[in-house]
């Protein structure tokens, strides 16, 4: 019978691998496009994967000095920056083009 601690550790370690591979796979969509918004959707998903990676890293590799919630500061900052970046680039994408004669 495994104790609870090793269960969570196993889940976190396996999750780190899966989330990391998912983020790497999403880079294919960033490169492939075909439009800015396709890339932006993929980048948004990558940052969510990074947040999950940081949270799982905190659980999987916690020590006495750095317990798992220390890493959540990093996750929170990444979340704020990711949201602002997504919103800003999406607003930029719909701005009328200066060369557009009709507007």
């Amino acid at each position: 019978m495994p104790d609870g601690r090793s269960l969570v550790d196993a889940a976190a370690t396996g999750g780190l691998v899966v989330v990391g591979l998912a983020a790497l796979a999403l880079l294919y969509r960033v490169v492939r496009g075909p439009t800015v918004l396709d890339r932006l959707v993929a980048i948004d998903a990558i940052t969510v994967n990074i947040i999950a990676f940081v949270a799982l890293f905190g659980v999987g590799f916690e020590t006495a000095a750095f317990e798992s919630r220390v890493y959540l500061d990093v996750a929170l900052v990444v979340a704020v920056i990711a949201f602002l970046a997504t919103a800003a680039v999406a607003r930029y994408a719909v701005r009328p083009h200066p060369d557009d004669a009709e507007r």
Binding site: D3, G4, R5, L7, V8, A10, A11, A12, G14, G15, V18, V19, L21, A22, A23, A25, L26, Y28, R29, T35, L37, D38, L40, V41, A42, D44, A45, V48, N49, I51, A52, A55, L56, G58, V59, E67, S68, R69, L72, D73, A75, L76, A79, V80, F83, T86, A87, A90, R91, A93, V94, P96, H97, D99, D100, A101, E102, R103
Partner: protein, 135 residues
């Protein structure tokens, strides 16, 4: 304690599964709107599961529950819909193409989502096509 830790592990595994499925959807689906759907739903549920599992683990094994996990979760749940709405609006306004009819349910012309439905939109919502060569 064992039951709670097992529940935390289960939440983490479920969340990671959803994140992987969201990535698969973004890679495989044929149009921006479909990818956005996979991304918005999948990542919200996925990160929710992961953070809830982490929070449960931390409140069982460490120095009691604190507000930080709740803060991360609340922020993500508040901003994810806003971000996907802004992305979807941008895709619609720039006239991003829908998936070809073969990939969707078959639709007759003129039905919602059909090819010339774009021209019936109100002027403010019509795609702003960039014209490179002036005629």
């Amino acid at each position: 304690m064992l039951a709670l830790e097992a529940l935390a592990a289960l939440l983490i595994v479920a969340g990671v599964t959803f994140l992987a499925l969201a990535a698969l959807g973004i890679l495989r689906l044929p149009s921006v709107y479909m990818r956005l759907h996979a991304s918005a739903v999948g990542t919200t549920v996925g990160i929710g599961g992961v953070v809830l599992g982490t929070a449960l683990h931390a409140s069982v094994s460490e120095s009691g529950p604190r507000l930080k996990e709740v803060l991360v979760l609340a922020f993500l749940l508040l901003t994810a819909p806003v971000a996907s709405h802004v992305l979807g609006r941008a895709a619609y306004l720039t006239g991003a193409p829908h998936a070809p009819p073969a990939a969707r349910a078959e639709r007759r012309p003129g039905e919602p989502g059909g090819a010339e439905d774009v021209r019936r939109r109100p002027a403010a919502l019509r795609p702003r096509v960039r014209r490179r060569e002036s005629s």
